[in-house]
């Protein structure tokens, strides 16, 4: 297989069996992919941090409710499993 990444283009205006073409990416498209990868990684990190923050908040809330005298089951019933 070629070193250059490829794309699959499906032209639905053509009859079946003649629709698919495999085309090498242009340099501009390759550059766009690199930008996309950087953006996606940044978004992944943001989402993972948000997940961790949400879980930490939940646990903190549970701990405080339990410290007030609720059982763990009662606290979970309030904040959700």
């Amino acid at each position: 297989m070629s070193e250059t990444p490829v794309k699959v283009v499906v032209d639905l205006s053509k009859p079946k069996g003649q629709r698919e073409s495999i085309i090498e990416l242009t340099q501009a498209e390759i550059d766009e992919r690199e930008v996309m990868a950087t953006e996606a990684e940044a978004q992944r990190l943001v989402d993972e941090q948000a997940q961790a923050d949400a879980e930490a908040l939940r646990q903190s809330g549970l701990d405080k409710l339990i410290a007030l005298g609720l059982t763990e089951a009662e606290a979970i019933a309030l904040v959700g499993a």
Binding site: V8, V10, L12, L25, R33, A40, Q43, V46, A50, Q51
Partner: protein
Amino acid sequence: MAMTLIQTVTVGSGGAASIEFTGIPQDRKDLVVLYSMRRSSGGARLQFNDDTGNIYDVLYFFGSGSSVITNSFTTGYIGLNDGSNSTSTTANTFASGLVYIANYTSSADKTISSEVVTENNATQAYANLAANRYNSSSAITKVKWTLSANEFSSISLYSIS
């Protein structure tokens, strides 16, 4: 209401950077995309008509099994990263996803719902549910699916009429 398969594309080992459906017939009501996907790294995104400007509104819920977050923004694509399988998941497992594109020939803005869930033979798995809007008066004639790293399994495009 009838759901009709327009085309299935299967990409084997070696993968493809993107899959583009062009010349989409304009005589149907809605479009549905069902896909099985795995990416080596980076992102997965969906764009229409080669539009890369900030005309896609995205609101998504992302669940990890222990918590759920939500986020919203306007951007140049519909992202399908979260929930997609990557190298951190079991080898040869693929995320399953669905995208529903309503009134794709309309001259009004189009609404798109999307969902994807991870397949993984381990604890870690994600689900991503999103409501999106494509702010364009143009009918959708092209759907482009891009991965920033080459891996894919299959994508099927259906029409609803």
